[in-house]
Structure formats: C-alpha cells, structure tokens
C-alpha cells in the first residue's frame, strides 16, 4: 500500500514536472508579452528534431539538449523580428500569425527530415530505487531539471536587472519606456527566452515520447490548461497549474481510466476558472 501511494506521488511529480517544462516557454511569452504563441507546440517539436540531428551527427544526446535552446531560440529571434513585433497591439493577428509560423515549422521539418517518425533513445535507461519503488532514472532527472530551470528563471526574473526591466515592462509598458527601458528589446528578449525554453522542453522530452513532425500539437492544449489554471504571468501559478493538472491526471488515470481522466482534468479546469477566472494563484 505504501509502495502504491509512493508510486502515485512520484508519478504525479513526474507528470507535473513534465507539464511545467512544456508550459514554461508558453507561460513566459504569454505572461510577459501577452502573446498567445500557437507556434509553441512546433517550437517544442523543433527542439526534438535538433536532438535527432545533433545525436545523428555528433552521437551525443546531451549535446543535442544543449543545442536545442540555441537553435530554437534563434528561430524565436527570427519569428519575433519578422512577425510578432509588427503585430504587437493586435492579439488576434498574433494568434493567426503564430499559428502560421507553426505550420511553416512543421512542414519545414517534413521537408528536411521526412514525415516518418524518428528515434531518440533514452540516454539513461534503467531504474533506481526510491524507497520500495523502482523508478526510471531519466524521469527522476527530469523532476530535478524542472526544479532547476524554474529556480533559474525565478532568480533571473526577480534578482537580475534584465528581469527587473521585463517585469517593469509587464506592469506598464509606457512608464517603463519613460524610465529608459527599451520595450522593443525587452520583448525580443522575452520571446527568445520563451522559444528557447520550448526547444529545451522538446529536447528533454524526446526520449520519452514519439518524435515526429506532427507530435507537438498534443502538448499544446495541456500546456495552455496549465498556464490558464495556474494564472497567467506568475511562476508560482505555473507550478500550481502543473501540479493540479498533472496530479489530477495521475490520480484519475490510476483509479479510474485514462479517458475519464482526460475529461475529469478538463472539468476541473473549467470549475477552477468558473470561480477564479484569473487562475488559482493570482
């Protein structure tokens, strides 16, 4: 019994950390810029393919994980300069434009890599004992990585000058500009960070899931749910959203069945938003 409970707790933590990793880039761009980035799923997928490419050429998974945020961050730079910055005050248009960017990425990957699935092997196969429970090492590592990235991001936002500038811009764009903050540069920076985080998440997830050009879209809905349930624009909200959605999924998935779990988590999100439209942690 204790083992079962412990397993479910670790499962919940594992899924929550994965959801947080995936939603992080979305939350940064949504929270800081107010841009709903529908290309997020495909930036995530591009991160996966960066690993496929680097692993194929250099033979190292971890090198691919390092390369992914750089490559996808660079794509983020191009997308922000080329598309998003021109649509700053037109939210509906950014929605459509980023959706289009996503399609371009997806079809581009199909042209470069073909439409078939690719393989990214687990770099750390095997299980490790957590008390009475044997758990996959890689998943435990992901929990640690999620915590580390969250910590780094929080430190950057709340303890450094660029973070302060971003938060100032978030509070009041014009006043921040009056104080000498270049909102244009800050926005660009936020978008690159968000894209790089999406790429990193894709790279880290690639050993656990199927790698193909159309897989990103699966994660988009969940990532949005995490961001919206937790509350837009707060890291704490993101953690809360991840734990609630991930935990709910684990519990309902284990005690009921996965289809009902899907519906139950969606219901939960609707109920939360009915009573806390701004998200739980706002």
């Amino acid at each position: 019994m204790a083992a079962t409970v412990l397993t479910q707790v670790i499962n919940g933590l594992s899924i929550a950390s994965i959801l947080i990793l995936i939603a992080l880039g979305l939350a940064v761009i949504f929270g800081l810029l107010g841009v709903i980035n529908l290309a997020h799923a495909d930036l995530f997928m591009t991160g996966m393919y960066t690993v496929v490419l680097v692993q194929g050429r250099a033979g190292s998974f971890w090198l691919g994980v390092l390369a992914a945020p750089l490559v996808v961050g660079a794509i983020g730079f191009v997308v922000e300069r080329g598309v998003v910055q021109w649509l700053r005050d037109r939210p509906l248009d950014t929605l459509l434009a980023t959706l289009g960017v996503g399609i371009v990425l997806r079809e581009g990957v199909k042209l470069l890599f073909g439409a078939g699935y690719r393989q990214v092997a687990n770099p750390l196969p095997g299980n490790v004992a957590v008390g009475p429970v044997a758990y996959p090492i890689y998943r435990l590592l992901l929990i640690a990585i999620a915590v580390a990235i969250l910590g780094a991001l929080a430190g950057w936002l709340y303890r450094t000058a660029p973070g302060l500038r971003l938060r100032a811009m978030l509070q009041d764009r014009e006043t921040a500009a009056a104080y000498g903050i270049d909102p244009d540069r800050a926005s660009l920076f936020a978008f690159i960070v968000g894209a790089a985080l999406a790429g990193l998440a894709g790279a880290l997830m690639s050993p656990l899931v199927t790698v193909g050009p159309d897989v990103g879209i699966i994660y988009l809905a969940r990532a949005f749910m995490v961001v919206v349930v937790g509350g837009v624009g707060s890291l704490l909200g993101l953690v809360g959203g991840g734990v609630i959605i991930g935990g709910g999924d684990t519990l309902a998935g284990y005690f009921l069945n996965p289809t009902i779990a899907n519906a139950a988590v969606l219901m939960l999100a609707v109920i939360i938003l009915r009573f806390r439209p701004g998200g739980l942690f706002r």
């Binding site: 397993t7 499962n11 594992s14 899924i15 994965i18 997806r106 199909k110 073909g114 439409a115 078939g116 699935y117 690719r118 393989q119 092997a121 687990n122 196969p125 095997g126 299980n127 044997a134 996959p136 890689y138 998943r139 050993p207 656990l208 899931v209 199927t210 790698v211 193909g212 050009p213 159309d214 897989v215 879209i217 699966i218 994660y219 969940r222 999924d249 684990t250 998935g253 284990y254 069945n257 996965p258 289809t259 779990a261 899907n262």
Partner: protein, 403 residues
Amino acid sequence: MVTSNCILDSAFDRRTLLRLAAVAGVVPFTGSLLTRDAAAQGDPIRVGAIIPFTGIETHNGLSMQYGLEIGTDEINAAGGLAGRQVEVLMEDDGGDVGRGVRAAAKLVGQDKVDFINGTLTSSVRTAVFEELKKTQTLFLNPTYYEGLLCDPYYFSSGATPNQGIEPMSVFAVKNLGKSFYFVASDYIWGTGSVTAAKPAVEAAGGSVVGEEYVPFGTSDFTAVINRIKEAAPDVVFPFIAGQDGITFLKQLSDFGVRDTVEICADSIDELIVPALSEEVAAGIVNCSSYYMMLENEANQAFLETMRAKYGDDALIGSFGMNMYNNMKLVQVAAKGLDEWSKDAIAAGLREATFDGPSGPLTTDSTNQHMVQNAYIATIQPDKSFKLEETIENVAPQAGCTLS
C-alpha cells in the same frame, strides 16, 4: 508607335479585361461539363485518394502515395482503364473525421472522381463510407480494420480481424504466453479490435487479465503501465493508433516492464520501427498482410520501382501496398471493358484476383473483402523483420454480408 499604344490601351480598358478574364475562366469550365456527358471517351478516369498526410498518421501518408502512384503508373503504361488514362487527385484528411468527409464530398461532388481509394483511421473510413453511400460511389479501402462495413460499392483489401488479430492471437498463445493485457485507443478501431481479440485469445487457450482504453493524443502512459505491472501479464497486445503507440512502447521500456512481458501486435510494421530503439523493438511479434521483406518476385520488382522513383530510403507498409493492390484490382476488373461503368467495374471487382507483392488476393463475393495471406514476423535485434509463419489464403470475416 505612340498612337498605336494609346489605341491598345483604350481598347483593353479595365472593364474589357475583366470581361475577357471572366469568359476565359468560364469557357473551359462549361467545355468540360459538356464533354463529360457527350464524349467521355477522351477524358481520364479520375481516382480520388483520401490519405492522412498530416495528423497522427502522418508517417503513413507518403507510403500510401507511393503505392497509389506506382499502381497508377503501371495502369497508364498498360493503356489505362477501358482505354482511358488514369488521373489521381489526392486529399489530406489529417486523420480527422470532418476533413475526411469534406474531402470525400469534394472529390465526388466537385472533382467528379470515378472511384475513391483510401482512408486510414477507422473513424474517417466509417464516416466516408456513409458519405459515399449517398452517391453510391465506388470505394476501395486499403487499411486493416475492425470490419463491419458492407455495401455493393465498397471493397476492402484491408484485412479483417480474423486475418490479422486471430492468427496473431493463436501464435502468441502458442509461443509467447497465456495471459494477455490489451491496451487500445479509445475509438472504433481500438474497441473493435479488442472485441475481436478477446475471444480469439480465449479460444486459443489463453486468458485476458486486463483491458484498457486510452484517448487519442495520450503522451503519458504512466498510470496504464503501473496497472500492467500489477497485473503481470505474459503478453501485452496493444491497439494504439499512430504516434501514441510508439510513445507507449518507449515508456513501457522506461519503466522496465518491456523486459518482463512479450509484445505482439498487428500495427508495428516497417514504418514504425525506425522510431524505436533496438532494445524496445527486438522481440516484438507482429502480424500483417504485407512486409517489405517478403521474398516473392513481384515484391522485389515493386521495391525496385519504388526506390528508383522515390529514393532508397522510401518505406512502404500494408496501407501503401494496399493502395497499390486496390489500383491493380480495378485494373483487373476493367480488363476487356470497352467503356468504363461503375457497375461493370463493381461486377468485375467481385470476381477479381490479383497476385502481387503481398501475395494472392481474391475477392470474397459475400462481403467484398479479400481472401489473403497473413504473415507473422518477429523483429530482430537489428530491427529487421524475420518471417515466422505464413497463413495462406485466409477468408475474410467482415462481420457483415451483402444483403
């Protein structure tokens, strides 16, 4: 010079240009409408193909296009169908029911295709089947599925459960283990397949210790895998569509369960294996109506053509091969016809046989599915497929008959 330019300018003012453009646009259109009825002989036969080039079955899209196009090329090189060349129109269904139905309606209503070849996911096929029934359009299905579709104008080279799931179950009970756990996508193919697999396993002397349904787009199978661990079956038999199936196998391996169970399947073919590592793939036993590794002459010739046309990396699975088979069956049915007619082709298809890369196909006229071979193969440590057993000429049990 200058004056003549002016005259030209005034003669072709904007209004005239618009009028001209309108006429130019309309004339070929009405022309084609007229000739279609009056002198159809010169027009090509049009095939509408519904293929998932995007969505969860993306990896099968190109393979289906290869089969379709190679079949069409061969028909055209041999003089076409009833003396007319064949033209292909492809629509992407994205694995989505709405898009599939719209594609079917467009191909039939707007493009006036003569028959439809295609569909992969069962949800799309079932909906397209109903849509095509309205116009009694000839429809050939390439995908193995749960059966239960019968219509005078519907033919399937796709295998029925007794041509895939049943032989797989019998082989698995004999060679892999007695207790089975099913994990299936929560829709018509998954549930229909489990419905067929359960009695097959039990009839062969096995037992079912668990069954489980997961929604489309499941990316985390932790809960399911925990329950499999607790049930400790000998064999896991997944019916999980598209990319979710690969994710399931990868995670099964991550949690260390892959080493404790055998896996048998009817959906893990040569197109799926590139996504799996050797440790995950090796030892999986699969039943299919076609593999690239089949050693017959027709298959070797086909693969040579495919690689010459699409490159050495080109892969094809049973869906793609059946797109080809469907074209060849229509060619057989059209043999000796002076004029294309839907009913003559349907009558021809009811008696058609074709011996191709996947082995001999013969229409079972009671349900218009094909008598065909089932091949059981094991994935080797180098991820190649090794043929274990061929069950020859299995008659299709579609679960329905033509009334």
